[in-house]
Point group: C2
Chain length 199, copies 2
Amino acid sequence: MNQSNNLIEDLVDALRCMPGIGKKSARRIAYHLLERDREGARHLAGRLTAAMDQIGHCQQCRMLTEKTICDFCSQERRDPTLLCVVETPADVYAMNEAGYKGRFFVLMGHLSPLDGIGPEELGLDQLATLLDSGEVEEVILATNLTVEGETTAHFISEMVRARDIRTTRIAYGVPYGGELEYIDSSTLTHALNGRRDFT
Amino acid sequence: MNQSNNLIEDLVDALRCMPGIGKKSARRIAYHLLERDREGARHLAGRLTAAMDQIGHCQQCRMLTEKTICDFCSQERRDPTLLCVVETPADVYAMNEAGYKGRFFVLMGHLSPLDGIGPEELGLDQLATLLDSGEVEEVILATNLTVEGETTAHFISEMVRARDIRTTRIAYGVPYGGELEYIDSSTLTHALNGRRDFT
Ligand SMILES: [Zn+2]
Ligand SMILES: [Zn+2]
């Protein structure tokens, strides 16, 4: 992240903070912006700064948002008796596009003791407060269908059942090992509709 | 480019000014930066603004640069008797990495009468001035091995030969229809070494 005396090389290096962008892609993007879309690049710079400075986490569901309470939590038309627990903000959008109409809770990860990610890091105390409010009648566990996602789902299901609230898991319409973010909406819709009580 | 009342969606839209970045990739990048690399994103915003505001074209070779005369033109160790004509700034880097040690001239495109791109748009008057300076002894035509690149090479070869300067074309080591930017360096090295007089 040092600055050389060459603005193009600086830009190429800076672009590599984006996942999936290697040196060649970064150079292609830099030239494209310089030759054909300086206005778009300036706009992007402004949006990056605004987003990084102003976006934090929703105080209710931990979704990324610039507000105290995010749009998903404040939309009155969303069913407050349903709570869908997901790993990442991208999963919120994926579930929403698949037709889910309830509220969300975003773990921002999954249990991973070796990396020091336990219940506290996933905001499970905040989830407990939400469950204790008495509004939630069903918790849909929509963590990834991976080993870590399953472990996390099991852990949360204990918390939920201890409060006599129904727990369901999205159906195995999602291929095993699959990550929600990359699954098409219709598969996700099937998985949502085929959800079953968590055992 | 309108701004919504949602900074994340604004950022996702803004990221799409980059070639090859669709809605899904843009969202993935936005979340990655927000969750894991805000510092990198802020740095990128600064580099984007600096590059877009300060980078123009080299007055000698038309390469993108923030200086009046670019690094390639001002490096004394580069052989001033060799002039390599390429279509884009990316091609300059590709040729340089393939071991080319002379000077460059960047057309910033190729002849395309239907799109209104003629000799003037490619800066051929500037190229003529360069050739008339008397320093250049060989012009290596390294436009793409496409129909448009060949047409452009032919056109320029006439200009060069009218001044009694040797004209060569990089060899067909590059696959036909290939674009220099995507060719590995060793293929480019062969193509450079196997260059022949332009006929
Ligand atoms: Zn929220
Ligand atoms: Zn130059």
